[in-house]
Each structure stands twice: as C-alpha cells, then as structure tokens.
Amino acid sequence: MDNEKDLLRKDLENQNTPEEIKKFVEDAELLGHEDIALLGKQKLEVIEAKAGEISKTSESQVSQVNELGGSSAEIDKRTEEVDQKIEEVQKSAENQIVEIQNKNQEKKEINRESIKIGSVFKVEFSRGKLTEVKVLTEIRKTNDVNPREYVRVKAVNGTLETDIEIEKLIDADLEKQILKQKISDIQRSLDNNLKIKESLASLGNKKVASAEHLVSSLGVPLMFLEETNKLRDLIRKRNLYPRGSIERDNAQKDLIQFQKENTGDSTTFLFYPSPEDSYVLVKGINGPKLMASYSLDDAIGEIIINQKKDILDLEEKIQ
C-alpha cells in the first residue's frame, strides 16, 4: 500500500460531516483490497472498545451503590439484558463487516463468443484455487423459471467432469495477466513499505528525520517531523465521548487546534490510532501540507506481512 492510500484510509476514521465523507468517497477509488481489510479491522476495534467501555459500570457509581448498601451483583442483574444487547450489536457489526470484506470483486465479463468446444478456461472450484478446464459442449440452458446458461467441462489435468455456469468460467490468459499485474503492484508497494519500516526503526528518539524514499503516490516527498503521542492522546480522548456530545465537540476542537498548530491547516490528514502505538508526524516537502501519523510497528508491519502473503498466494494461483 502506498502512503497516499494509507493517508486516505486513515482519514476515513475521522470523517464527521457529510462533506468530509463525500470527499473521502471521491478519493476512495485509490483503496485496495488490503485497505478494506484494515479499515474493517480498525472499525471493529473501535466498536469492540466502545462496547467494552459501556458494559462497565463506572467506579464512582459502584462505590455509590456500595455506600448505600447495594451490591455489584444487583447492578449486574439489572444490566444483564442491556449488556446482552450491547454484545449483540457488536457481534452483528462484526458479521456484517466480515461479510462485506469477503464479497468478491466484480469480475470482468467473459466473452460468450470465446466459449466453444475445446476452449480452455479456469474455474474456482475451491476458494482461492483455480483449476484449468476444457469445454466439452455448446452453451446450454437449465429448465428453471430463471434459466441459467452452462457448459460441460473437464479438468485438463484431472478426471473431474461437471456442468458449470458460464459466468464462472475465467479466461485463463486474461486471469494470468491480471494476477501478474497485481503481483507487480503489490511488490512495488511492499518495497516501499520495507524502506519506510527501516526508516522508522532508525528514527529512534530523534525529533526530526528526513526520509527521502518516503514518497506519496502522487510523487510528493514526505519527511518525518517528530515522534509524538500527543496526536494519539487527543484522538483517544475525543473517542471516549459519544458522537454529538459537547465533550466530544470540545475534544474535536482541541484536535483541530493541534492540527493547525502543526500544519497551519485544519483540513489535514489524521487517522485513528490503535491505543498502544507510537506515532510520528509526517508532512509533504514542497507539496500540499499533509499531516499523518505512522505507527512505528503495527500498521506497517502488518501490511508487510499481508503483502508478502498476498504475493505468495497470487504466485500459487498463476502456477
């Protein structure tokens, strides 16, 4: 994943107004599969943290109850039903997000003219594995109310013979080209991320460090400004309060003020940090003022692992 996308993805975390969301959606075409996976993961982490937070009774209330002769057990009993609902909301969001993440990308429509007896295609019989098959018949139709078109196929390197709907046929050559292109894109991004990780590791306690290879996808060189937890703390503080509350609005103002002080611009990039990460601020050199935070470990590390895995999977598919 390149830096520009990283910024955009993380920026989504902080969209509060319809205008901001619209702006994000316009930019979202730059998002890739791994961004969606990370986005879903981050959203679920926030939901989980929120659910955990509100399922607990505050210490002040517990001590108040105890002082008045009540008990924590009674609190648990009375809140059991609502706690159950909280858990259900969390689980339901998790199921829905996972379902969205697993939805297949739109496949290019296959050319019907190319489906002839003897032509070779690929079919995904089991998840992630493509099998080469040869077409044995002309296109036929089922007798259902909504007839589906299918052909009989036979595995090129096996004995399997079966009927398959024509939209499940994948053009072998086209697929190979797409996969090769994907590998090359991921590899380029992986090389860049490895350099970023190296640079982050060498940053140590330095307040300022340049990173010339750290270039956004638009070619804007970036540099590290400073290592900071301030940003994380401000966002964490804001997220403690429910949307629409005065406390959250005030915390958001503090956050924007911090952005202005550091970049002179309140419409800069920020993202939701996971609680334990450390961050550095980065900014474009001679480019539009950007500010973003890079996790020193988790974010880049996880992306690198996933990219290496994706490359191996894609290579396996090509073979």
């Binding site: 959203k43 929120k50 008045l68 002769g69 609502v82 969001a93 829905q96 969205i100």
Partner: protein
C-alpha cells in the same frame, strides 16, 4: 461490489453500530442511576423510620 462501495458500506455499518451503542450506553446508565435512586429512597425511608421510632 467495488472497494469504494465496500468502504462506504463498512462506514454505514460502523456508524449504525456506534449509534446503537450510544443509545444502549444511555439505557445502561439510566438503569444504574435508577438503582441508586432506589437505594437512596430506601435509605431516607430508613432514617425517617428511625427518627419516628425515637420520638
């Protein structure tokens, strides 16, 4: 489904979940507050009863 659509959909699910959680948070706080009020009322009743019995 394209990645843009997925991102939008995830955002919708997230917003909906956070909204529901905020409502449930309010509901939970109300339950605990009611219990505290109940305990306070019991305490006041007990004090009142004790004063009356002293008389």
């Amino acid at each position: 489904m394209t990645n843009e659509e997925k991102a939008k959909k995830i955002e919708e699910i997230y917003n909906e979940a956070i909204k529901k959680l905020a409502e449930l948070e309010k509901e939970r706080k109300t339950i605990v507050s009611s219990y505290i009020k109940e305990l306070e009322a019991q305490k006041i009743d007990a004090i009142r009863a004790s004063i009356l019995s002293d008389k």
